[in-house]
């Protein structure tokens, strides 16, 4: 613990250069991110997932509205105290 405290103090006193990569990963598996070339697989997955999410959400909303209307009709005038 004392060694760790000494190390922290050393890092605090010496201003380190900010790392170029945003995240620190093992050098054995990390690749430098290339933002110039589109990662078409990632783009396709992102747009596909967004389209799936929106489709599911809109379908679920329409089903909810239909189910609410159906239950309201089935309940009829039985319960006047609730909404």
């Amino acid at each position: 613990m004392a060694a760790g405290l000494r190390a922290v103090r050393r890092w605090g006193l010496v201003a380190a250069a900010p790392p170029r990569l945003a995240f620190t990963r093992s050098a054995f598996v990390a690749k430098k991110a290339n933002n110039a070339q589109p990662n078409w697989l990632g783009v396709g997955l992102a747009f596909g997932s967004s389209a799936a999410l929106w489709g599911f959400l809109i379908k679920q909303h329409d089903e909810d509205v239909a189910e609410y209307e159906r239950r309201k009709r089935a309940r009829g005038r039985k319960c006047t105290g609730c909404s």
Binding site: A46, S49, L53, W54, L57, D64, V65, R71
Partner: protein
Amino acid sequence: MAFLPDESRSLPPPPLFNKGSVWLGFVGWLASLADNAFNQRPVIRAGVHRQILFASVGFFVGYQLVKRAEYVHAKVDREMFEYVRHHPVDFQPATG
């Protein structure tokens, strides 16, 4: 307990664009902009597919949360009105 029990479908569903869904969609979009900033990319021009995905996920989560919140509020209201109905003596209008 289920996130959205079956009886929650007896409630009118909230509109698709409600406070929770719009706000969390906006927060998701901001998160994608922050991701651009942290990875030293142009903040709004980069990763439009990412911005759309994050905003969509936020919108979706916000909508589900609002549905659950409305269900919980309705359930609590129902229990409260049932209690009031069963204890009329405690809830007379003030006579002074």
